[in-house]
Symmetry: C2
Subunit: 356 residues, 2 copies
């Protein structure tokens, strides 16, 4: 973070100058431009200790007499197309927010659902999405407790956008956060990466091939509870959605002030995803996942966490893919199969807009 | 509510047949079509005790050992234009959600903010909206604790949509709900109605006249705390936004199984609003407000509540406008200045789309 926003702490003006005069697709990529927007605009304007964490969730107490903490998180879903192999926007909207709560170590409790509909949207499609949300909520054990519906004129939206916001209960004392990674921590991933992003590209017709690819969209709260139950020593959990594994590890490295070295050969990628990525010229490390998590855990806890992951249906292909180092602070390095080390940066631009 | 959804309790299928094959603007009006969509689709699919209340907020406990209850509410804002006399979409997004919490008798604590931006949206406009949200949050005493930004391609949204979702703390034992009105209750309104809707129409150029009209957008939590502090006996609070006073009173009448008689002459309406409504052929009772509330209170509590409202800067022009009756159940009647009684129905269609 630059000194600009820090200097503005406690005030809402002056804001630092913005680097762009107009919103670009990349501002929604989850990568570098999204970070810039947050650090140059949202954070200085709204500054408060919760938002400053820059996690995908806020954690707070509502009752000083209780140890229970609340996790709170929001996501809008604009995925295109709304139906794709392995899921749809409704399932994504429920699982995405459930997962942001789970990454705080929280038990997901309640969701809100805000629909923005384009006039003329087929009611049968809306019904299909809503039933899919109901099904995903039941599977994740959350209730959709409140909602809102807005309709805009034809041509003023793209069919259907959904916001879900979630509330969860943190009943354990540990703080799990992107600010908590420590040198020596092991980096675990819960399974093969890149499936969601490539399933969306398939649904868009970007891949001129017959290929079996489906989104990995899934609720991860149960897997997280199994991991937390196995051992202490889980420092950080993140689901590598927009921007993929590379971007999320960069965020963790920056927030925690550590380096991270990823062993490229250890990162699980299915052949179908690898092939599709090659055709499109995209590195799977930058492709969105919707049912995978990264865990940064103390070295002595890593075997127990990995075993707990592999014993769970949503983590059977979990793998150890890297290690946290003290240098270079704030950077991620990739060790290639040939032994070389190269810098793995955050996502720049947005090769796959509207992936979620 | 028909028997259809009730019969489906606990299951997600079969859903009742929907009355329309495609989404209409009226499904976002807050009136009759919105109710149909909720009762025929969202409620049967998501059915749970919180959602069944059909309030603008859900209320739940997170810690059985504590008396504290949480209020949770969501709203998406698609107002057009985004800047209008008296406010903008950012201020509306903060105040609207703060007010939905306040109507549960809750102290607003935290908001989430989800932005959907259209590629090419001017960054200066975004900055202006964000600063306006920061200002409104500070005034209402809430923190924007977490957020999300998505960007869609040019032509796939209309500049800027904002979802805000709020969490508040209910520290009093009373249940304040649209299901709680009782025969004999007095109906109070906190000030003159119709200002927000007419300010939007002015901003759209629909009024070919020079007129001093500004949105009434304001946070109402402080007014509500003053009212609750004055006396017990407040049964129901509602802010008459989309669909206006007439629609909101119909919801209360239906949920509480009571009748409501409104004295047309007692309803405060500024001359400018009355004039604008006459030109547009719209009844001010159906026009959205964003800084007013309706309170249904026990008859013996009414004088104290009215006095507390009038002593507060946001309720100086509060008025007693009607009474709750035991019949006709579920209906609202309007007594005209000439002494006649006519049925005041919910809003049908949507004469003022994208008012919030």
């Amino acid at each position: 973070m630059s000194d600009g926003p820090r200097a503005a702490a406690g005030t809402i003006c002056p804001l630092p100058a913005l680097a762009h005069t107009h919103v670009l697709l990349g501002h929604g990529s989850g990568g570098k431009l999204t970070s810039e927007l947050i650090e140059q605009l949202f954070l200085p304007a709204f500054r408060n200790p919760l938002l400053e964490k820059l996690d995908d969730h806020a954690v707070f107490s509502v009752d000083p007499s209780s140890d229970l903490r609340i996790a709170f998180t929001t996501d809008s879903f604009v995925v295109n197309p709304i139906f794709f192999p392995g899921g749809d926007i409704g399932q994504l909207a429920v699982n995405g927010t459930v997962n942001d709560l789970a990454m705080a170590g929280a038990e997901p409790l309640y969701l809100s659902a805000g629909f923005i509909l384009e006039e003329g949207f087929p009611m049968d499609d809306l019904r299909r999405v809503v039933l899919s949300m109901a099904d995903a909520s039941a599977r994740a054990g959350v209730a959709i407790a409140t909602g809102d519906t807005k309709v805009v004129q034809r041509g003023k939206a793209d069919g259907l956008f959904i916001n879900t916001t979630g509330v969860g209960a943190i009943r354990r004392p540990e703080t799990i956060s992107a600010w908590n990674a420590r040198p020596g921590d092991r980096v675990l991933v819960s399974g093969p990466i890149g499936e969601h992003g490539m399933a969306i590209m398939l649904a868009r017709g970007a891949l001129d091939m017959e290929v079996e690819l489906a989104s990995d969209t899934a609720p991860l709260a149960s897997l997280v509870q199994a991991m937390l139950g196995a051992t202490a020593g889980i420092h950080c959990l993140k689901d590598p959605t927009r921007g993929g594994v590379a971007t999320v590890l960069n965020e963790i490295a920056q927030h925690s002030g550590v380096g991270i070295v990823v062993e490229e050969e250890q990162v699980p990628v299915r052949d179908e995803v690898r092939g599709a990525c090659e055709i499109l010229g995209i590195d799977p490390l930058y492709v969105a996942n919707e049912g995978k998590l990264l865990a940064l855990v103390a070295p002595e806890a890593a075997p127990a966490v990995l075993a707990a992951m592999r014993a769970h249906p949503d983590g059977q292909e979990a793998a150890l893919i890297g290690v946290v180092t003290d240098k270079p602070r704030g950077r991620v390095l990739l060790r290639t199969p040939w032994g070389g080390l190269r810098v793995l940066d955050m996502l720049v631009g947005d090769p796959l807009p509207r992936i979620c």
